[in-house]
Point group: C2
Chain length 297, copies 2
């Protein structure tokens, strides 16, 4: 029989991830701020706890999936938090996308309590969470990762559960991931605008480019979204703004100039200003279309 | 027996492309400014002509592969140029990367002489030229493309000879290709710098990112070059600077704001300023490493 797993944070991502753990046969002890998702998980077989500490008291492995750094700090180190009740030897797997510096700080606090914290942010969005095909980028103790690997494999693609390095390395990798996507996304918007305004079919351009060095998943997947004006998330622009903030804050803290990502951040700010926070982040292209006077709805 | 083909411009790209035409059994009439490559092609079975007009007088299909817009204007419309001797019904295939506006203008001039000009720039670099695996993006008359398709297939990947649209559309597509690569290349440099300065192994980051939405040929191929400090061309940075100028000039002419590509252009200027014009354009990352104080040689 599988060991019981704690799961804290049942939002758009956490809820399907927790359901996949149940499906894989892991008894689940859950906690979340909202009542609805907790009820849904209890209906599916999970046991609910009223606080993060209550979850920590009953489990050796605790997964957290929360929106931002302060949420993780509160759930772990706040009142009735995990750290107040964590068992020695427990492994906390924070799958949220948060600041690498905060992840490192929390890992130090966990180790002082005899527990281990892994940062294990994911890529793949809501679809990946539902299908259990997330990529998972792990920072922290390698032995702890091996212990929880079966649990991660139930939520992600086993071949894409990657140990990147020490504490915080998973979060750095996630920041790198968001930087890579942002630059590619922005130039796809720029080149589609250029094609449209010069009277060239952007679908033909996309097709030709996918056969060469310009090929990317962003051009393939998000390029298709942009051409069909399909901005249903996917991955909400508001969350992408948060992820880019983390990436650029980390760059600032380490004096890494990122001029292209800085421009991408401004374009993301414009996308949010245009009221698109709840659309898919590929709507970034619409900012460039608006600037170029390209009609796109 | 195949019809004779004219080939003008036997540089780093033109020479192996012409050799592939010879290998495929096309009798070749060649012209180039430098004596050396002409001698090499003659030794391989081609006939040399002293002027572009001399080439045009003897062939129904004329391929040009030259560095920049003024070179193509001179070879076609200049003294002893192709236009002075072109046969009615001839097809001129300009495979150089030049301004879409110049390509359209030359196509109009060709049609006034009863000939057809296709713009057919390539992607794939020297390796693609040598191996005959270039991607070819074609603008202009579709029937003319069908007539010369066997010739293009001898130089490129038959599945990647794509008709994009009317005159100039091939050049617009090539500009889009260079924009897409530039944005991706710049952010790969940024994220590698971020990884290095935060103590994370960029090779692990690259590996993890290649499994998800951040995957791109640039991260795969140029990422590998950057990690191994291998900046042998490939594709010379000086030529990439020229291609980006064409892209941004075209954007300006059509009032398309391209803020990310504008930053990429500045980074390319810095790469050339650092004395790297003859290195591969993936050396763009070194500009970001220098800015971040990352040692990288």
């Amino acid at each position: 029989m599988n060991e019981p797993v704690g799961f804290i944070g049942l939002g758009v991502m956490g809820r399907p991830m927790a359901l996949n753990l149940l499906k894989a046969g892991f008894p689940l002890v859950v906690h979340s701020r909202s009542r609805g998702p907790v009820d849904a998980l209890v209906a599916a077989g999970a046991r609910a706890e009223a606080s993060p500490a209550g979850v920590a008291r009953q489990t050796e492995v605790i997964v957290t999936m929360l929106p931002d750094s302060p949420d993780v700090q509160l759930v772990l180190a706040g009142p009735a938090g995990v750290f107040g009740a964590v068992r020695p030897g427990a492994v906390i797997v924070d799958m949220s996308t948060i600041s690498p510096a905060v992840a490192r700080d929390l890992a130090v606090q966990a180790s002082e309590l005899g527990a281990t914290l892994l940062d294990a942010p994911v890529s793949g969005g809501e679809i990946g969470a539902i299908n259990g095909t997330l990529s998972i980028m792990v920072g922290g103790d390698a032995a702890a990762l091996e212990r929880v690997r079966p649990i991660l494999n139930a939520m992600g693609n086993a071949e894409r559960v990657t140990h990147i390095g020490g504490s915080g390395a998973g979060q750095v990798c996630k920041a790198c991931n968001q930087i890579a996507i942002g630059g590619s996304l922005a130039v796809v918007g720029e080149l589609f605008a250029l094609a449209w305004k010069t009277g060239v079919d952007p679908a033909k351009v996309r097709e030709a480019l996918l056969g060469g060095f310009a090929a990317s998943r962003v051009l393939e997947v998000h390029g298709e979204r942009i051409l069909t004006h399909n901005y249903r998330p996917g991955f909400r622009a508001g969350l992408y703004q948060k992820d880019l903030r983390i990436a650029l804050d980390t760059a600032r803290a380490h004096n890494v100039p990122m001029p292209v990502s800085a421009v991408v951040q401004q374009l993301v700010n414009a996308m949010i200003a245009a009221g698109r926070a709840d659309e898919d982040y590929s709507a970034l292209a619409t900012v460039l279309f608006d600037l170029a006077g390209v009609r796109h709805e």
